[in-house]
Symmetry: C2
């Protein structure tokens, strides 16, 4: 069985450590070692989180000497954003509720 078979984006971002990794990578690409320094957990733990993010398509990576640099690939976050945006009018648009009411076919 594949170690962490093609992971779902929603599950990937459910973990706070992984969200923090993404936030860090949003600033600049970083090596595994640099990331490890930002957390109080072992290097394998970070590598495992990075694998989940990689499997979910949320990060890319390439070698640079003996370092391996990870960079953000934010496109797939669009699924999360689009889904939640579906609810955004509930708190942004004052007329949202009325609008949705009037949109129903029987009005």
């Amino acid at each position: 069985m594949p170690p962490a078979a093609s992971k779902d984006v929603f599950r990937a971002v459910a973990d706070p450590t992984r969200r923090r990794i993404l936030d860090l990578l949003a600033e600049s690409e970083q090596s595994v070692g640099e990331l490890v320094l930002r957390f109080s957990m072992s290097q394998p733990a970070i590598s495992q989180h990075l694998r989940v993010l990689y499997d979910a398509g949320l990060v890319g990576r390439h070698r640079e000497g003996r370092l391996k640099k990870y960079r953000l690939r934010p496109e797939r976050l669009r699924r999360v954003h689009d889904w939640s945006a579906h609810y955004a009018h509930f708190w942004t648009d004052k007329l949202g509720a009325l609008g949705r009411y009037l949109d129903k076919p029987d009005h």
Copy 2:
């Protein structure tokens, strides 16, 4: 031990069944029984998902006769939306990358 102690919103929406429940509740409030009909799993399974959503503050509920109606409480989804919106410029704003680059203090 509390059955599913105060749940995190990100974890609550990580499950596809729970997202589907939220989507259904976005249309209209529904009783547990009505929701059960939409899924091919047992009533307790749905009740357990509803509890997770309730503990995460994503749904409200009230009795109505012998029914218990659940309704969406979307406010807390804002956390998810705001977090993902933080990345939205990566795919919406063509000048986003340049803008972020110029925003750095050393430019």
